[in-house]
């Protein structure tokens, strides 16, 4: 009886191993896909993080976000949008336009 239980757990563990390997390969392939392009800008990102990730000049970004030249607060986009009473999608669209404009240069 105990051997049966052990065998059952063994089969489940082996199945889980295959399951996780498949998933790991799937995510790795998805990640490496060159067609996928850049990761989109998301509401949790902070001004500095965006600047570094998409290689944007600080001044341009500060202009979009209505920040003064000395300001790079650790505040996510979502909050910056809330403070100005605009939807966060608007900020994201403006930033993505800036990224696209710089990429086409």
């Amino acid at each position: 009886m105990r051997r049966k239980a052990m065998l059952a757990v063994f089969v489940i563990a082996a199945g889980l191993t295959v399951f996780f390997i498949t998933r790991a390969i799937f995510f790795a392939v998805f990640w490496m896909d060159p067609e996928r392009g850049l990761h989109p800008v998301e509401p949790w990102m902070t001004p500095r993080y965006i600047g570094r990730t998409y290689d944007l000049p600080r001044a341009d970004l500060q202009e979009i976000l209505h920040l003064t030249p000395g300001e790079t607060p650790r505040v996510p986009l979502e909050k910056l949008a809330q403070q100005r009473g605009i939807p966060v999608e608007d900020l994201i669209a403006e930033i993505e336009a800036l990224i696209a404009a710089r990429a086409s240069k």
Binding site: M6, A14, F27, W31, T46, R48, Y49, G51, P76, K79
Partner: protein
């Protein structure tokens, strides 16, 4: 879900990272590795300070592990273990587990901190319940959590822009390693049993 958690990291910083590593030590489903990577990525961008991210994650993880160990050791875990060991159904398996932990306990604790991390919370409880010497548990725990924090914060620092993709891939690699290790150990035990009964 992931985005909400990342929003928490950018909003509250270190506190969230410490809390995530602490709670993950009690087997609560916390994406603590993703949050450590986010901490590393924010440190690279200049929003957080690298050593503070490391220290915060490390402190949370060690506190959580020690909590699990001490709870099992002084709050009834020991008695539960003794009772289970007297029951014929579980006695042999538990005696074996205890012997294994006595021989290789340091390594078991070290490796379940980072490489086989899903097993970490349970190893804490077993170590406490079987009265593994506290100093040995603490040393292996410190070394293991330091490895865990160093690996993930460094990955976040380096791969800043791709932490979500990296976390999806790596989480499954860790899952495969853990399930694979359990499969191997069980396979070995089954094989030994078969030879013994012949």
């Amino acid at each position: 879900m992931t985005d909400t958690l990342l929003l928490l990291v950018s909003d509250y910083g270190l506190l969230v990272i410490s809390l995530a590593t602490l709670l993950s030590c009690f087997a609560l489903p916390m994406p603590s590795s993703l949050m450590m990577m986010a901490g590393g990525a924010f440190a690279a961008a200049g929003d957080l300070v690298l050593w503070q991210v490391c220290l915060g994650a490390f402190a949370g993880a060690v506190l959580g592990d020690q909590g699990g160990y001490l709870l099992a050791r002084y709050r009834g875990g020991e008695r539960l273990w003794a009772w289970l060991r007297r029951r014929p159904a579980s006695a042999r398996l538990l005696t074996q587990a205890e012997a294994l932990l006595a021989r290789r306990g340091g390594w078991a604790v070290y490796l379940t901190r980072w490489l086989f991390s899903p097993l970490g919370p349970y190893v804490n409880l077993i170590a406490g319940a079987t009265r593994m010497p506290w100093r040995r548990f603490l040393l292996a725990d410190l070394a293991g959590e330091a490895t865990w924090v160093a690996v993930y914060v460094t990955l976040g620092y380096v791969f800043g822009t791709q932490i979500e993709e990296l976390s999806d891939t790596l989480g499954n690699v860790i899952g495969a390693l853990t399930a694979g290790m359990v499969t191997l150990l069980l396979g070995r035990a089954l094989w030994a049993q078969r030879r013994a009964t012949r």
